[in-house]
Amino acid sequence: MTGVMLKDIRKAYGAVEVIHGIDLEIRHGEFVVFVGPSGCGKSTLLRMIAGLEDISGGTMTIGGEVVNQVPPSKRGIAMVFQSYALYPHMSVYENMAFGMRIARRPKAEIDARVREAGEILQLTPFLDRLPKALSGGQRQRVAIGRAICRNPKVFLFDEPLSNLDAALRVATRIEIAKLAETMPETTMIYVTHDQIEAMTLADRIVVLSGGTIEQVGAPLELYERPANLFVARFIGSPAMNILPATIEETGATTTVTLAGGKAVTLDLASDAARKGEAASFGVRPEDLRPAEGEDFLFEGKVSIVETLGEVTLVYIEGLTADDEPIIVKLAGTRSYERGKTARFTAEPKALHLFDADGQTLRR
């Protein structure tokens, strides 16, 4: 079993700690994606798993063996780098064979492995070419092929798609998903800042921020039940609308007053002690719909309308203190006039409430 266990993992550069005690268990054969804004420590964490960064504190095990001091090549990992990191002076074949040559594997084995990887990734016609004679997508495949050749127990990806153009990114994403399916015994850890990659590839997503884990969970779980304000805003596009609110009534349901004075009742239970506390009220743009009559959540002036064809984004201003607009995402093309007042509402089940510390009030 080749799961990866992180116990209170820390990383410090001098006096500055950038990873603050990460606990995480990645199961054998699982596909885990690290997401987070830039600077959140996701790449550092991956590089610590790879052995490219020293571990300042905590214990890391791969397949049950403590690897804190084990060099990268002995951890049974392979890594696909963001820039691919192909050796520019070696042919595709030599790039893929390099690791095995260093390990002094027999020639026949090297040849068989390289050709097999070439076959899987449709690189056979290019084996004699230098990286500079390849397209971006082909280089990407060579990088993956080089990792496959190492026959790793843990496969690490560091933002592997960010250097590709949009169309190729989608195609390669699907290829990686297929590859993962053909290697069910291999644990995959994938770092990205792109939530679509995270949502589509992951068995579980780890959301990181400021060197700590915000939430770990299956993609839909994160979307539907974010653990806190950060995850709620990070997953989903456009981000969840957040409004300051005050808790008025507690009990089996909770009633809050929004900044504008509007009272809203949510379908979630709350502690009586919370009465009178400040809170944040959240609703996703795609959960909002036009309101009929007096039964509305928001009422405000339409400031901008973006018609994208498949959806229409309506911006409503003047409801939040910091002038951030409320965004409404409606399916299809709708016509709204700028400057006119519009009303929107949402299902009570789709409403979120966060306490003063940003933690979700659970249903």
Binding site: N68, Q69, V70, P71, K74
Partner: protein, 334 residues
């Protein structure tokens, strides 16, 4: 021919020796502190130690050579400067005292300062002008290549080239030196240029300017080309003319590079030796520090104390530039 073969054999032995040193020392380190086949804590401890030692293995030959040939001599020179001719008797400050009162030393310092003022200024100026102009014409690269060419010529070779230009024949006979021929053509009298004090130094400086302009030009040309086109286009839209664009938009953006060129040539000027030795050997008031130092190394059987004092003066003049360079390099590293 024999020692050329000897040289080639040395190259092979030297390179092989270096390769063997690096290979063997690394192998030895891996043997002494194995981690590939060792297990667990011992492997990781060995790896850590090996990684702490390996950089020093890589740098050892360089550190040894640099210490013996550059660091030790600085200290030794300071020590020698307090000692007599053969570097044995302690003589206190008398070498320094000699230096302060020696007219030849004073002449050298004055000349060196003149060189410092004129050569970097002229080389940088011509280099900048050519860099700016040559980029605008289709044969600019050929022009730059030709002006860059003297960089490849040794100072001694350049001295012969220019000695021929300054050559003097008595008035009335046909001049074979280009300078005198031109002077005579315009009705002047020919002169033995390199014997006229003050101006002869300038004629020697011309040689170094001739050599160094190419260097300045190459660096400044690259700097000019790295200026964002947009700033120039913006200035054109703002109605600036060519000269205004050059002096108000382009030159201010490459001040850093100009400073680097200037200081680099300054260091070179401080060390100028070959030209003076070949052209005048310090006669007719053209003496400079480096040549004076060379003379004292051998004059009268050699006076190491005085030679060392002069070397220290050159060193002291370089120190501010050294500090500035280190400062810049450290900022880049950050």
């Amino acid at each position: 021919m024999g020692h050329l073969v000897y040289a080639l054999v040395t190259v092979v032995i030297g390179l092989a020796g270096a390769a063997i040193y690096f290979y063997a020392s690394n192998l030895l380190l891996d043997r002494a502190l194995p981690y590939r086949d060792a297990e667990g804590a011992r492997a990781s401890r060995n790896l850590r130690r090996a990684n702490a030692i390996r950089p020093w293995l890589f740098m050892l030959p360089a550190i040894v050579i640099l210490s013996v040939y550059l660091v030790y001599p600085v200290l030794e020179s300071i020590w020698l400067s307090f000692h007599g001719k053969a570097g044995i008797d302690f003589v206190g400050l008398s070498n320094y005292h000699w230096m302060l009162v020696d007219p030849e030393f004073r002449e050298s310092i004055v000349n060196n300062l003149l060189w410092l003022l004129i050569v970097p200024a002229l080389s940088t100026f011509f280099g900048l002008v050519i860099a700016a102009l040559a980029d605008r014409i289709w044969w600019g690269n050929i022009a730059k290549s030709l002006i860059f060419m003297p960089m490849a010529i040794s100072f001694v070779g350049a001295s012969v080239i220019w000695k021929f230009i300054y050559d003097f024949r008595p008035a009335g006979s046909e001049q074979i030196g280009l300078l005198n021929a031109v002077v005579v053509f315009f009705g002047g009298n020919p002169h033995a240029w390199i014997t006229i004090p003050f101006w002869n130094s300038v004629f020697l400086m011309v040689i170094l300017v001739w050599i160094q302009t190419g260097f300045a030009m190459v660096i400044l040309s690259a700097a000019l080309r790295s200026i964002p086109d947009e700033t120039i286009e913006a200035a054109v839209i703002d109605g600036a003319n060519g000269l205004q664009i050059f002096f108000k938009i382009m030159v201010p953006q490459i001040w850093g590079t100009i400073a680097v060129v200037w200081t680099t040539i300054t260091i070179l000027v401080l060390k100028v030796f070959d030209i003076v030795l070949a052209m005048t050997n310090g006669q007719w008031d053209t003496q400079v520090l480096a040549n004076l130092m060379f003379e004292w190394m051998f004059r009268g059987g050699g006076d190491f104390g005085r030679g060392a004092v002069i070397a220290l003066v050159i060193m002291v003049l370089v120190v501010p530039i050294m500090i500035w360079n280190i400062h810049n390099a450290r900022q880049e590293l950050r």
